[in-house]
């Protein structure tokens, strides 16, 4: 499915498409890809990797293209680019061998991993420390009665380390591929542009007059932006929550579970709810959307990512609700199972979109800067 031969054909198709666009330029203000391509005459692999990651799949250039199928030029840029993006993820993945996981990102696989980890925990907990998995523990530190603190910290620490290394290597591969130097990243103005664009998702507005993008059909709208905001800011809130919890634990000696009115619980809950709403919304858009500009091959990866995100949060919210009851130990194991599976998959699933999209925005910021 993502074999080398396919990838070569895709590169050819994308470069053909970009040459047509370059002679047309009608989409000039729809998204950053189009002003950027005016700088090129030919399109090599690194350039196409960059452009495909600069594309945020809004489909504006599909619905507005006079050469979209049934025209014999058969331009389907969102579809071509979305598959090319995955080729690039595979190419950048560290260790390389795990890049193969991108092609096998099905929902079932991910959930299976999560369930396995959950069961492993349950088994571990059963044999080791917990008196019973169906006891209601309460009070501070109750979670650690199920899974010992050391194990929790060690496992999450190792996984985090792995994710950080994989991300740094992947990003470096992406960034330097077109000849950009790592040292250029010291230019803060690039970060200002890229972070601003990411924080507001300004490129999902479809242009300066902010009419939105084509997510479902040829109508412009903002729904995808809002649901994406839900996921993104929800994720940030849960990260804040986790960080706060770590600080409380290590520096203030306050142990989980935290009170309902504590900042940890408030940010975590809010984040969780936002992410669940965002995931449901994004799934709805995917189901309703015109299938032609969507790569059917990638739906498995997209849905599995959304499902994992949603499940991490749903199990987290359930744990919050039932944390004083007999279901807590098993819910905790399952929730941690999903969290761990999610983090394990992070460098090899749709999550890397965040990494390379930011990288592409940084590259684009360079272009904007040089041309203003």
């Amino acid at each position: 499915m993502f074999s080398n031969e396919d990838s070569i054909l895709r590169l050819k198709d994308a470069s053909r498409a970009m040459e047509i666009c370059n002679a047309c330029r009608y989409c000039e203000t729809l998204c950053p890809v189009f002003p950027q391509i005016t700088q090129f005459r030919t399109f090599d692999k690194p350039t196409l990797n960059y452009l495909s990651n600069l594309c945020h799949n809004c489909k504006g250039c599909f619905h507005g293209c006079q050469y979209a199928p049934p025209h014999e030029f058969d331009l389907n840029i969102p579809k071509t680019f979305s598959e090319l993006r995955v080729d690039s993820y595979i190419q950048y993945a560290f260790p390389n061998i795990l890049g193969k996981l991108f092609a096998k990102n099905g929902t079932v696989v991910s959930i299976l991993i999560a369930v396995c980890i959950g069961l492993l925990f349950i088994a571990g907990a059963y044999f080791n420390s917990a008196d019973s998995l169906f006891t209601a523990y309460d009070g501070k530190g109750s979670f650690f009665k199920v899974i010992p603190y050391e194990i929790m910290t060690l496992v999450s620490g190792l996984i985090c380390l792995h994710v950080v290394i994989a991300f740094i290597v992947g990003f470096r591969r992406f960034w330097t591929e077109n000849g950009d130097k790592m040292s250029e990243l010291a230019d803060l103005s690039l970060w200002k542009y890229a972070m601003g664009a990411a924080a507001t998702l300004k490129h999902l507005d479809g242009g300066d007059n902010g009419h939105g993008c084509n997510h479902i059909d040829d109508r412009f709208g903002h729904s995808r932006k809002w649901f994406h905001h839900g996921v993104m800011y929800g994720f940030i809130l849960t990260l804040i929550s986790t960080t706060l919890a770590a600080i409380y634990h290590h520096f203030l000696g306050l142990h989980a579970p935290y009170d309902f009115d504590s900042l940890v619980v408030i940010t975590g809950t809010l984040g969780g709810i936002l992410m669940v709403i965002g995931c449901i919304g994004l799934t709805y858009i995917k189901i309703k959307a015109d299938p032609v500009p969507i790569s059917q091959k990638l739906l498995g990866m997209d849905y599995s990512f959304i499902a994992m995100l949603a499940l991490v949060n749903i199990t987290g919210l359930l744990l919050l609700i039932f944390r004083d009851g007999v279901w807590m130990p098993s819910l905790l194991c399952i929730h941690l199972g999903f969290v761990l599976a999610f983090f394990l998959m992070m460098p090899y699933c749709k999550f890397v979109h965040l990494l390379y999209r930011l990288g592409a925005l940084l590259k684009y910021a360079k272009y904007v800067k040089n041309n203003s």
């Binding site: 203000t29 005459r41 619905h63 006079q66 050469y67 300066d208």
Partner: protein
């Protein structure tokens, strides 16, 4: 409630249909193409020429009425219907604001590349995005859109339309309404009609736009005593890449490299001053120039000095390391080509090459001189592009008045037929072309026709 039928599915038809519906009429729109091909030539457009006394959100500076009118007189050599031209120009700004109000997006003026952002309003994302939006507005207003419904005949009695003969996927239909708007474009895609009008050579013409503009409504009307405007052989054609598709090649097949080299015909000879003028004049004349050459082709020859100076083209050029090899690859008579190029090179007077103005690089002493941007063709690799005429649209149409009402040959206005778009462009454009005025004519008279039809 008045029942209106609009014939056609491009910008002109949609402006009429939307206006009629906004006036409270019950509107049906008949588009001969399937949904995926809807929008006629309008789907291939980029912009619309708009008069504006002051800047708008997307149009810079001002484009005074007088200047617009002058520009029109220049291209038509003074031959236009003053009343209608004035109306079209003056109403173009209202059309712009009306579109904006209805949620049609224009793109902010571009820096640098296009000097047209003063005179022309660019549709954000191009004509297809515009068309999509127009169909959405129509849908929201409850307009019934029937795709794959082609009008074969408009049945006239006295000076009224009685009914329409239509073919649809479910067979032949006879449709009637209180009033009708004809907006079904020109006849450029009808090869038989092109041959009648332009002779055998038209078989080598490519059509830049839709294959659905067969001119059937136009033919039906003209054959029943409706007054004609414009000449059959007038229209707009540009030089396009010879490898462009037969239909719907759209914008990308245009070739912008003519002033950078020389253009040879199939016999290996030059035939016109390649450095005469800038785009867009150059753009408009080369279609006709090439059409008058043997086999209706021209071959642009440039060398590597110029390769990066013009808009990229979609098709790869023919490339060779010597003139001889290039001539062979282009199937041109080798000796003749070498001779032409040698003569040309010898006649070049060195100057300061400057793309941005009519510079002083020229040739002297040739039968056909190149008056600007002349540089020797001497630096391999050499490149060749083959040009063919690409028809944009035809000017033959029906006579209308300022209410977009159609007239009979005997001078009587028709009671219930209005027309707009390409099929009335000939009222204003007798010849020549002013970039962006096609959409203006269609939109302005579309709105007038829609309003008129809703209030017959």
């Amino acid at each position: 409630m008045k029942k209106i039928i609009v014939i056609g599915g491009g910008n002109a038809a949609l402006c009429a249909a939307i206006t009629a519906a906004q006036e409270g009429a019950e509107v049906t729109l008949l588009e001969s193409s399937p949904k995926l091909w809807r929008g006629g030539n309008s789907q291939h457009t980029r912009n619309m020429r708009v008069y504006h006394p002051k800047p708008t959100t997307t149009l810079v500076e001002s484009y005074p009425f007088e200047e617009y009118y002058e520009d029109l007189l220049k291209v038509t050599k003074g031959e236009t219907n003053e009343e209608l031209a004035t109306l079209a120009i003056k109403s173009s700004i209202d059309l712009y604001y009306w579109m904006e109000k209805n949620g049609i997006n224009f793109q902010p003026s571009l820096k640098g590349t296009l000097s047209l952002s003063r005179t022309n309003a660019f549709f954000l994302g191009g004509g297809k995005t515009l068309i999509n939006r127009e169909y959405q507005i129509a849908e929201d207003l409850g307009i019934k859109v029937l795709y794959e419904h082609e009008v074969l005949n408009v049945n006239l009695k006295d000076n009224s339309v009685e009914s329409l003969d239509v073919v649809s996927p479910s067979g032949k239909l006879k449709l009637t309404a209180d009033a009708y708007v004809a907006a079904s474009g020109g006849f450029e895609s009808n090869r038989d009609w092109l041959r009648e009008a332009w002779g055998e050579q038209s078989k080598n013409y490519l059509i830049r736009g839709t294959k659905f503009n067969q001119g059937k409504v136009l033919k039906s009307l003209l054959s029943q005593g409706v007054q004609k405007v414009g000449k059959e052989e007038q229209g707009h054609a540009v030089a396009v890449d010879g490898r462009a598709p037969l239909y719907d090649g759209g914008i990308v097949t245009r070739l912008d490299c003519v002033p950078f080299g020389i253009v040879l015909n199939d016999e290996g000879n030059r035939f016109y001053d390649e450095g005469e003028d800038f785009w867009p004049k150059r753009y408009a004349i080369w279609g006709r120039l090439v059409a008058s050459q043997p086999n209706q082709v021209g071959h642009v020859i440039i060398d590597s000095k110029s390769f990066d100076l013009f808009m990229p083209s979609v098709f790869e050029p023919t490339k060779a390391n010597s003139i001889e090899e290039l001539a062979q690859k282009l199937s041109l008579p080798v000796e003749e080509v070498i001779k032409t190029i040698d003569e040309f090179n010898a006649a070049v007077v060195e100057g300061d090459f400057d793309l941005t103005k009519l510079d002083n690089c020229k040739t002297e002493g040739l039968e056909v001189n190149k008056t600007h941007w002349a540089r020797r063709i001497d630096t391999p690799p050499y490149y060749g592009y083959t040009l063919r005429p690409g028809v944009t649209f035809t000017y033959l149409g029906v006579k209308i008045d300022k209410d977009a009402r159609v007239y009979m040959e005997d001078g009587k206005p028709m009671t219930n037929l209005f027309a707009t778009g390409e099929m009335v462009a000939g009222n204003i454009l007798s010849q020549g072309y002013l970039a962006g005025i096609g959409m203006t004519i269609g939109g302005v008279f579309g709105r007038i026709a829609g309003k008129g039809a809703a209030n017959v």
